[in-house]
Amino acid sequence: MSSEAISSADYIKHHLTNWTYGQFPEGTENAGQWGFAHTAAEAKSMGFMAIHVDTMLWSIVTGLIFIYFFSKAAKRASAGIPTGFQNFVEMIVEFIDTSVRGSFTAKNDMVAPLAMTVFIWIFLMNFMDLIPVDWIPKASEWIGMTFFGAQEHHVYMKVVPSTDPNATIGMAFSVFFLVLFYSFKNKGISGFTAELTLMPFQSNNKVVQGLFIPVNFVLEFVSLIAKPISLALRLFGNMYAGEMIFILIAIMFNAGLVMATLGGVLQLGWAIFHILIITLQAFIFMTLTIVYLDMAHSDH
């Protein structure tokens, strides 16, 4: 593996640190400059003014794979007899179309494409989890050390974008922004405000109703905010836990032949089970996106 042995804790920590590009904080030698973080602590010290290059890289790569194959299929789409990949794409389109028709009652041409992007993109990002945990990080370490003169263990590469809360929160907030936008658009400011303050407690007495307003607002505001947060954290939590188990199994490979064999079996088992989880999480994210947008469109 490496010349200097590293502990299991370091191994895990290394795997959980993103390749970070950001502004070095005050009090360090390169203060104010932008650059790659060399250690986990350095990455942490950069605070908000940093970007996870690996998350962006792999999410864009998976996104481009999705875009490339699906636009190719879209270009060849015809009413004739579909074959091979064409058939597969049409099956997915049909599936998503059915899901959207089932949950989304208003008319909006954006929802179905949004749902498809969410489903396929998240699925592909999650799918990175099934690639053995050391392959890409080791390859990047070799590339970093050979071509860019990086120090050993200072190359970070976290390949599953959906195990980075930034990615899931970023997507969830985009969805949340759409929810807010359509809520205002379809219900008006007064309608949306009424929805937030006049429910669930109602009274015919004006004074009592006035007293209910702050209570209602607290309840409704929490449930509103809970939407994007739960959306983001559900996906992140599931993928993070799955990734963690893969890393723990990978540690077994260094603990003798018996443990390594057991680890191999466990890795296979967990990977097969994980196929279910990555698909399910992508599906849940998609379905909730559709449902939230439907709620933003409905008047009650």
Binding site: L16, N18, T20, G22, A43, K44, M46, G47, F48, M49, A50, I51, H52, T55, M56, S59, I60, G63, F66, I67, F70, S71, A73, A74, K75, A77, S78, A79, G80, V89, E90, V93, E94, D97, D109, M110, A112, P113, L114, M116, T117, W121, P161, D164, P165, N166, A167, I169, G170, M171, F173, S174
Partner: protein, 156 residues
């Protein structure tokens, strides 16, 4: 697990992909699916119609066949009737003609017989007269016995 600018980066990427899919991927795929759906529906409707038409045609063929058979039977019946009529008619005609010919022949025979009788009578008279004349030539005057002779002739 630091929250940082990646959040915005991810949002922007997400929005970009959604817009791309909305513009270039989703519409042609859905359009193709809708078109195929319409095509299949048309095909099924056409098949149904064809089947229906086929059944109608079959029914029509059967009807026509039945009609033709009936007509043929009628024609045969008529022809048979007509044939028997013609036979009857011919028989009648033949009988009438035969009778007519027979009657004509009988009449002619009668005529011939009469004529021959007249002729024979004349000759017999002449012969008798001649005979009588020869007998009487010597006994009676021809003129004196003319009345007697005439009377005799009339009696023959």
């Amino acid at each position: 697990m630091n929250i940082n600018l990646t959040l915005f980066g991810q949002s922007i990427t997400f929005i970009f992909f959604v817009i791309f899919v909305m513009k270039y991927v989703w519409p042609p795929l859905v359009a193709a699916l809708e078109e195929r759906k319409a095509k299949i529906a048309d095909g099924l409707a056409a098949a149904e119609k064809g089947k229906h038409d086929g059944e109608l045609a079959k029914q029509r063929v059967l009807d026509t066949l039945k009609e033709a058979k009936e007509k043929a039977q009628d024609i045969i019946n008529q022809a048979e009737k007509r044939a028997s009529e013609i036979v009857e008619e011919s028989k009648d005609n033949a009988r009438v003609e035969g009778e007519r010919i027979l009657a004509a022949a009988n009449a002619e025979i009668e005529q011939e017989v009469n004529r021959a009788r007249e002729h024979l009578r004349g000759q017999v008279v002449t012969l008798a007269v001649a005979g009588a004349g020869k007998v009487l030539k010597r006994e009676i005057d021809e003129k004196a016995n003319d009345d007697l002779l005439q009377d005799l002739v009339a009696q023959l």
